[in-house]
């Protein structure tokens, strides 16, 4: 496993470097940047849902929390390094508390969904009512429905005047995604990741084997939130404004759709699903023949009915059948589910 791990890292790096180099020739870097950020957001849910079996209806809450934390901290501090770190820590802390409440209370599937959904709604409603001048954190007005514009954007650490924006910002985001991707890979191959998948497959069995299921789920949930928070902070830097719609249910819905379309139980699926669907949405904005919501909905229904495992596993299975035949090494990752369970 060790040797192949090293080879996988190498392959990931080479492929990623090629993509980072080639993609800007096809899509404008500005659009590409947000696709990368959404990819990271997709990965965050893909990790906790696909590998931990935690269906979170409120991943947008951590995304929005990351973005808002960044914006508020950046206004108060005026330099982007500490805000970036805070934007990862605050959602992670929030998730740790929320996760502990839910998992130690032994909440399962639908009930978990309701709680995460409700918490997102509360945040959304709260942020929406902060238009008045009394809602201030330090120097930053929360601003309610209109959000917070005009904060310090990403700069070279230690030098607030040296902004990172445009093409360099794209490279920063892309490299961040690769690093997060590698960390997630490493996490899943560690014993922690294997136990997490075990919990997904059979929680009672893992508990009886002596693992502290609630603690492990809480940690995984927290890691997912930290990644979502990081993508939120990058998003805030990209759009240069944060608004409550980041917390909205439709944002949460989109993340779930990305994972379904891309493929659950894979690392690549949610990233590709996010980037692909976000690009589709961008393209659809340039036509007015068919309502875009209709198309998004149709895609989701068709995928649930006909391709419930998503694109990446389906393509990988097909690939495995056609090209590689019986060689087990290139079997898609979801195939391991049977071995873990």
């Amino acid at each position: 496993m060790r040797g192949t791990g090293g080879r996988d890292v190498l392959i990931t790096l080479v492929v990623a470097a090629l993509l980072i180099w080639i993609m800007p020739t096809m899509i404008a870097t500005y659009t590409l940047t947000v696709l990368v950020i959404y990819g990271m957001l997709g990965l965050s849910l893909g990790l906790i849902w696909g590998f931990g079996g935690i269906l979170c209806f409120g991943q947008a809450a951590f995304f929005g929390l990351g973005a808002y934390t960044y914006a508020i901290a950046a206004i108060n501090i005026g330099e982007s390094t500490v805000p970036m770190i805070l934007a990862v820590l605050v959602p992670a802390l929030f998730a740790a508390i929320l996760g502990a409440i839910m998992f130690y209370g032994r909440l399962m599937d639908v009930y978990l969904g309701v709680i995460t959904l409700v918490v997102t709604l509360i945040l959304f409603k709260f942020v929406n009512t902060t238009a008045g001048p009394q809602y201030v954190i330090g120097k930053a007005r929360i601003g309610g429905y209109n959000g917070i514009p005009g904060f310090q954007t990403l700069n070279v650490p230690g030098d607030p005047g040296a902004y990172i924006w445009g093409d360099p910002f794209y490279y920063v985001c892309a490299v961040a995604l690769v690093i997060v991707f590698l960390l997630v890979t490493w996490l899943l191959r560690s014993s922690f990741g294997r136990i997490a998948v075990g919990i997904r497959e059979n929680e009672v069995r893992m508990a009886l084997l002596g693992y502290d299921v609630a603690a492990r789920k809480t940690v995984l949930f927290t890691i997912g939130a930290a990644i979502a928070g990081l993508s939120g902070a990058l998003f805030a830097n990209w759009s240069e404004i944060v608004t409550p719609s980041l917390f909205s249910l439709s944002q949460s819905a989109e993340i779930i759709i990305w994972c379904i379309v891309g493929g659950l139980g894979t690392r690549l699926g949610p990233i590709l699903g996010a980037a692909g669907l976000a690009y589709l949405k961008f393209m659809l904005g340039q036509q007015s023949m068919i309502d875009n919501t209709l198309i998004t909905g149709l895609i989701l229904v068709l995928f649930v009915l006909f391709l419930p495992r998503g694109l990446v596993p389906a393509v990988a299975t097909l690939w495995g059948r056609i090209v590689v035949g019986t060689r087990r090494r290139t079997q898609p990752r979801t195939m391991r589910r049977t071995r873990h369970g």
Binding site: L107, Y111, I257, N292, L298
Partner: protein, 288 residues
């Protein structure tokens, strides 16, 4: 004195409207363990059906109480045959599929009706209690939801169809062995659930300005009410609607409507944390 009467009516109205908007979802979830996230859009379509019918010159009460439930029920039937039927027993997948359906319905309604707000005016005039004016339509909503709950009780307890439905709900394999096709029972249940959603949307339509995205305002509330209610269909619905309606109205009056809404959500989180199986998972066990 007048004021306390007015407040009492407002509280009853809040409870009644929670019952109304959750009933369709509760039937589908309670009987079939399917969470229909397109519930809000079924309500929205009920509203549009009413407005369209009323604009064609049909009596508004006929449009609300007959046409809208039928239209939405039929749409529900089509949805069940085409989509839901393939997903029974896969809770998460049905949620996602119905979520997709809800987006599709929003898109379709936008293409057909446009995004402008439409509506019809309230068919019942307001009346005076002492120094206060009350919206007479509130009483109509209270009456409709009381009748609705009584009807559901009567059908489930008193009729053979209700007995079969309850049997299927508990042990569908046994019901099948006794010669009742679960497939057809599920189909009928989904039709009823959709019709109830349509009815709720229709009855609430005169109070609100309707847009294709209106459904989103209801789904979260309905979802929370039903899940917090727990496994018993009617007892769960009524008990959670009463507690949430009461709590949110108290805060609405003492502080503001927004705080009322937030308190409702916080109450839901607390209820689910303390009673992970919902209210009727702990109390009223085994009741309907």
């Amino acid at each position: 004195m007048d004021l306390s009467f007015v407040i009492l009516v407002e509280v009853l109205y809040a409870v009644a409207s929670l019952v109304l908007i959750s009933a369709g979802l509760a039937v589908v979830f309670g009987m079939m363990k399917v969470i229909n996230l397109a519930h809000g859009e079924f309500m929205m379509m009920g509203g549009y059906a009413t407005i369209t019918a009323a604009n064609l010159g049909i009596n508004v009460f006929v449009a609300m109480l007959v046409i809208a439930p039928l239209v939405v029920g039929l749409i529900g039937l089509v949805v069940e045959r085409l989509v839901i039927r393939h997903l029974y027993g896969r809770l998460v997948d049905t949620m996602l599929a119905t979520w997709g359906l809800s987006l599709m319905f929003i898109g379709l309604a936008t293409m057909i009706f446009g995004n402008t707000t439409t509506g019809i005016s309230t068919p019942i005039t307001g009346f005076t209690v002492g120094d206060y004016q009350i919206n007479g339509y509130n009483f109509f909503i209270i009456v409709v939801s009381v009748v609705l709950v009584l009807c559901m009780l009567a059908v489930l307890k008193g009729t053979r169809a209700g007995l079969i439905a309850r049997g299927t709900m508990q042990r569908s394999d046994m019901a099948a062995a006794l010669g009742y096709s679960p497939d057809r029972i599920y189909m009928a249940t989904f039709f009823c659930g959709s019709a109830l959603s349509g009815l709720a949307g229709a009855v609430l339509a005169p109070l609100v300005g309707l847009v294709p995205t209106s459904g989103g305002a209801y789904i979260a509330k309905a979802f929370i009410t039903v899940i917090a209610g727990g496994p018993s269909l009617i007892a769960g619905l009524v008990s959670s609607a009463t507690s949430f309606g009461l709590v949110s109205q108290i805060f609405t009056f003492t502080i503001s409507p927004v705080i009322g809404e937030v308190v409702l959500l916080v109450a839901a989180v607390i209820v689910l944390r303390l009673m992970p199986q919902g209210i009727t998972g702990r109390f009223f066990r085994g009741k309907l």
